[in-house]
Amino acid sequence: MKTSKQIGKPVSRLEGNLKVTGAAKYAADYNESDLVHGYIVNSTITKGKIIAIDESSARKISGVIEIYSHTNRSKLPWFDILYTDMDAPPGTPFKPLYNNQVLYNGQPIALVVAECFETSRYAASLLKITYEEETFETELMMRLAAARNPKKGMATSIKPLPPSPTGNFEEAYEQADAKYEGEFFHGAEHHNPLELFATTTIFEGDGKLTVYDKTQGTNNCQIYIANVFGLHFKDVRVLSPFVGGGFGSGLRPQYQLFLCVMASLELKRNVRVTMDRAQMFTFGHRPQTIQRTKFGASADGIVTAIHHSAIAETSHFEDYTEVVVNWANMLYPAKNTLLDYKLVPLDLFTPMDMRAPGGSTGLHAIEATMDALSYELNIDPLALRLLNYSERDVSADKPYSSKELKACYLQGAEKFGWSDRNPEPRSTKRGNRLVGTGMSTGIWDVIALPAKAKAKIDREGKVKVTSAVTDIGTGTKTIMTQIAAETLGISISDVTFAYGDSKMPLAPIQGGSYTTGVIGSAVKAVCTALKKKIFRQAKKMKHSAFKKVKFKDVVFEDGKIFLPNKPNSAVSIKSVVIDNEEKVIKTSKTNIPNLLKIKQYTRAAHSAAFVEVEVDEELGVINVTRAVTAVAAGKIINPKTARSQILGGMIWGISKALREETLTDHHLGKYMNTNLGEYHIPVHADIHELDVLFVEENDEIINELGSKGVGEIGLASMAPAIANAIFHATGKRINKFPIHFDALL
């Protein structure tokens, strides 16, 4: 079997066996001996001060070891910079147990540590906390007048603020032949990975800690812990080999990590702290956002004027931002634009990236507005997109590094059967249900970051490649193995990709759909460096056929090095390693993207979603009966895991459009449905026929692999397509997500 074609093969997940047998260990699965348990106590008020904590009842319970609060916590640094993690927005990071101030409802205010989990939980329920309450505001709609520009910082360099206005929007909109003006809203959403946030800290002594944490960045947590607790980086080892879902929730160190490590250092014991499901609603979330659009077009369907504004919540201590309004002009080349993005600080925790942050928010408004315009113009929604198709990103005045969105539109429409559509709303019925179809465009940017990897090959010909990166279920282990195997021309079974350990080479946090490109490029680079080293060794061998040969002239395939025109020159790489006196050949490499080159281009993945819904008008029940998403994301490393990523994104789209929403009681400043019974996500019975197709896309700019990542793009186009299909089915345009039956009755 040729080993040169590992990239593009539908390899089953290499950790599959561990996951189907229960052997995969997550952060709360390390039952170290002498383990004690911490249970977190959260504020029940929204804003104010803690006056007193009566611990007397709790301390009487046998098995309670210690109770930590702001009154007796470890000595902590007060410099903000020491609490700043890789994903911290501009502002002052939250410091758990720092003082008696309560900044939001659900803020962790104490940790009860006991010999067993049940005792810690019971004792936590006995704390009597006296507060002094202050007035607060948690409702975005009540504070719109306070909207202001976001602060600039590291985060806004990756998530650019809106471009300046172009042309004359007001005049162009005034003169437009067809117009749509919409207001869009969604409330808070919480990531709710199925794994509860948990940390198990092993107290190793000598100032050393081993920390099993639920995170999307082992180095991020390592640096945070070392900084906050004044430990040496090398003495803090954070492991996260299995992560039970992330979706952005693990991009920042969460407070259970801080509390667990603090208790371990104080008690000099092994400690586990696990959140309960309600506590999973007490940190970052997708922010409530209100958007307004005004799009104008000429009678022949050319969009001439785009106004898109968004106002989102943030906390009073950090300015979390998303890219919400920048996308419309990247997709549709109108010459008159007015884009605006503002924040309103509220008495809530800082929002956080949640799958397709900003993109899924903004595209809802943009693509529903385009859909509405298509009906105003009496032009098919897909035809309107094609009329306004641009090969160039007009908003940045740059070419795309690659853009096969047109192929997504055409192939997706073909597979879905879009041409059979009766354009008239309310025109189709199936039994007593109205049937509608809708479509939407998706776009997500491609981020390039530096990353390091190591590789070594032993005398058996087995290669081990390492990176500190996590695998949150995206298939990272599998695709990195494929990339390494293909680069080295060996079989997948001869490669081990080890990951999820801060001791391994530095990796950025796993998010933004960039892990394939960023870590994959580092893996390719280190394996190329390893090949060169193996080749140099091969040249030194007795009777080597490569004495006067250059590296670029040889081929690595099937575990051998050879000159393509001289098959008998072949030498197995294993024999080269055996010939090497040091037994293994190893190397490391930091891959640094060529920013000068890539910054000349706009880099984005694209998608087109086509959706059919059935609406029972008497009951208001909405079902997504079938959907096709066509994706252009460059090179697909593994079509099996990539397809699953897109399916997952589509199901998130169904959830976003029709199910999930964190409801707030704004009188109490408190989330109300903080459990999986009332925070609705789709169940198996809600999911019907879903289809994914990847279009061919060749990109030689973005990274060494030409791969764009597929984590968010499946979600980006799905939710608006559902809203548009509901309009086609019912004639009702509902711009508030999620769309519940009451909106249709």
Partner: protein
């Protein structure tokens, strides 16, 4: 000023005693001494050190803790260990026959029926017991009967494809 107080006053005499619970888990007879407030889930995970069974909500809402108890799928988080004295329990660690995976485990890998893997033990235990219940014959019925097991990654269609494959082959005993 507002005082938050709990109803649980006068707990000075708080005193629980352990009970002996005999369980046959994955064919092994175990004798546990557990306090009455220990859930079967925590007993399995912390006392038996079988951490394959997962806690996703501790409320009976997500299905991650599903185990097979005396032939029936149950939510181990809503069950106290002391309620199951002398029961026979199969957890995810007992589904395979030694190194030979159960057909459903193989089908899960083949159909990529998981991403993060956290709901997987519950999905597999639930599906095996569900098939034996014999109530679900169509894809729609299987989806309905499996709806107590949430998957946040969105592997839903792949999970149902895997279950249907082994149902059609009839090799789920």
């Amino acid at each position: 000023m507002k005082a938050e107080s709990t109803d649980r006053e006068n707990n000075n005499d708080f005193n629980l005693t352990t009970s002996q619970v005999k369980l046959k888990i994955n064919g092994n007879c175990l004798q546990l001494n557990v306090l009455p407030w220990v859930s079967l889930l925590d007993a399995i995970r912390d006392h038996c050190n079988l951490t394959g069974t997962k806690k996703g909500c501790d409320h009976g809402q997500c299905g991650a803790c599903t185990v097979i108890c005396d032939g029936n799928r149950i939510l181990s988080c809503l069950t106290l260990a002391v309620m199951k004295n002398k029961s026979e329990i199969t957890t995810i660690e007992g589904i395979a026959d030694g190194d030979e995976l159960h057909p459903l485990q193989k089908a899960f890998i083949k159909h990529d029926a998981f991403q993060c893997g956290y709901c997987t033990p519950g999905q597999i235990c639930s599906a095996i017991a569900m098939l034996k219940e014999g109530k679900a014959n169509t894809r729609e019925e299987i989806k309905e009967q499996m709806s107590g097991n949430l998957c946040r990654c969105g592997a839903n269609t792949n999970i149902i494809d895997a279950i249907i494959e082994i149902k059609n082959k009839g090799n789920y005993e």
